[in-house]
Symmetry: C2
Subunit: 335 residues, 2 copies
DNA sequence: TAATATTAGGTAAACGGTTACCTTTTTTTA
DNA sequence: TAAAAAAAGGTAACCGTTTACCTAATATTA
């Protein structure tokens, strides 16, 4: 493959001149020379070697996106937005799928440091509370190696991050159900700390305000449809089953609807259901699903902005906060 | 950041020795020396610089996945499989989202060459027939720069590729509907050449065998739910509306169901619907959708295998062929 | 015990760019 | 018209590895 040396030789100039022309740097070059260099580059089918460039400049113009799942629309939609923003700034992205595995996450971090990415946007996995430590390790490890970091989905000190006020989202969902007259409200959470834990807290706090104990109607699923399905069966076959269920994500809420249908419980007549996140699924299922929606576009844009800010040299961490919005569809009814 | 020079200096050996220890190459090293080097590496928090390594070795251990959409489950599921396969082999992947834009696709190809990826798995976008040329240009451009290429979704000469026999998939769908007694079968395709065009051909051929002209019941959508919805409205409001509709992908089929519901047409009683691909959506919608399913896992595995084969030096192109499978759910009924 | 192999390590070129610092020529300015 | 400035280009060190080729010491073999 042709290099700038080949071009330099062909044209009869030094590589410095070739490099300057190719990169359009601010250094005077005679028009004719420039022309000849560009023509030679064309003829030799020259392609700049980004690897060599990165080595020389110490910047790769690459950032990584570390997300728990690439088959989950919540993350891919955010990713798509982030990608187009960073593309505009001339960055390429590694999309890394951690599959909710702490171990894979750490391996990726190690790898990204070795690859000298300029920045990372990171939605840490936190299946068990103690995972928080591994998350933190990963983040400090990145920072220690001069890699810009932006997180979303969990909260960390001294890190630029997107914070979604999911606590109030959960409160809103519960209040809505209370207003509809529900008193027995089930809650399917996800065995995870961080975001979903705050949702649970919002749920409990709001119930307590209304003088209701919710603890025993909490159950943990695996964040997939199957999990929602199984949890719903357990909840609905209790002696005193809930009249409404909140699931901590979209897929599990769909699982709840499926389970209810199977055992002949009508939604929304006999059971109200609320999910988190939003997707085509929630709109398409019957009845369509009332959800606590997170502002995907805003999250994506903000994450990209925070990262770019750091890549441009800003060192102080910034937190951007968003609120959720309750999107009312057909899956809830007054009792 | 620490380099092998720092380690070499600290231990009092040459960088060659350090490099050998770090990479565990087949070269004898005294146990004690090895120990001291590893300790020094640890203490200095050494991270190998993949960039420098790539430059020296001429291989990046990176492959790119070029797909039309990262929010479409069909592609992300395949991607996930490919990713885990390649991960096992020590490759990292760039997931590139072409958004069905030929222009973006070409930009990516340019960029991937500059980044010297070792290989590319590519599902080319072909919105108009003439895009075929751009697709081919991209593929030859990659090959010309010694980058291994595997394609899926379109057919090219002399390229390792996954071929899904979608023609027979369409035939099967039509035959199924014919057997159910349908004679007026609408077809919503996607303005695209390649795969979807072969589906159309399968549709037409099979109808012709049965002595039916299908041309006028063909209509083109945008591959999104909205497109399916609009096309369905057009088809269903004809004088002589179809009693069955095949949509060339999943999302448009969902759009058809939505449209039918809105104008009071019952599925499957008044209208049978078949989609292509498969996803949770098809299972969750009511009635659940009968689809022509593509073997995602097999496609992903085969794509990875074909690429690895090339990365290991095999130069001859290999084509792997898969058949679709008709998954019968509730959206069709005999007339 | 001399010849040969093996072990252990070092030297330096190469990978393909960038860029600080020079030099020479031409143009501008006072 | 001499001095200063701008234009045009070159030289070579540097980025952090790998690796072919060497050397020296030690172990093995006949």
């Amino acid at each position: 493959m042709a290099t700038i040396y080949d071009i330099a030789e062909k044209v009869g100039v030094s590589v410095a001149t070739v490099s300057r022309v190719i990169n359009g740097v601010n250094h005077p070059i005679k028009g004719e020379t420039r022309q000849r260099i560009l023509e030679a580059a064309q003829e030799l089918n020259y392609r700049p070697n980004t690897i060599a460039k990165s080595l020389a400049q110490g910047r790769t113009h690459t950032v990584a996106l570390l997300i728990p799942s690439i088959t989950n629309n919540f993350y891919t939609q955010i990713s798509e937005i982030i990608e187009s923003k960073l593309d505009e700034e001339g960055y390429n992205i590694y999309l890394c799928n951690t599959k909710r595995s702490i171990e894979k996450e750490s391996r990726y971090v190690e790898n990204l440091i070795a690859r000298r990415v300029d920045g990372v946007i990171f939605s840490p996995t936190r299946v068990r509370p103690e995972d928080n430590e591994a998350n933190l390790d990963n983040i400090t490890e990145l920072s220690r190696n001069n890699i810009a970091v932006v997180t979303f989905g969990s909260r960390f000190p001294n890190v630029s991050q997107i914070y979604i006020n999911t606590y109030y989202g959960a409160c809103e969902a519960v209040r809505y159900l209370l207003k509809l007259g529900h008193r027995q409200i089930g809650f399917i959470d996800g065995l995870t700390a961080g975001t979903r834990r705050r949702r649970r807290k919002g749920y409990l706090d709001t119930l307590k305000e209304a003088g209701i104990e919710g603890e025993e109607l909490i159950i943990s699923g695996d964040l997939e449809m199957e999990g929602g399905y199984r949890c719903a069966l357990q909840l609905l076959q209790r002696n005193n089953p809930p009249t409404a269920v909140i699931a901590v994500n979209n897929l599990m809420a769909i699982g709840v609807i499926k389970a209810a249908k199977e055992i002949g419980i009508k939604i929304p007549e006999d059971l109200s259901v609320i999910g988190f996140d939003d997707s085509l699924l929630s709109q398409v299922i019957e009845p369509s699903l009332t959800v606590v929606k997170q502002p995907l576009v805003e999250i994506g844009n903000a994450a990209a902005r925070l990262l770019i800010r750091q890549l441009h040299g800003e060192t102080e961490a910034e937190t951007v906060e968003f609120n959720t919005r309750l999107v009312i569809r057909e899956s809830c009814r007054a009792r």
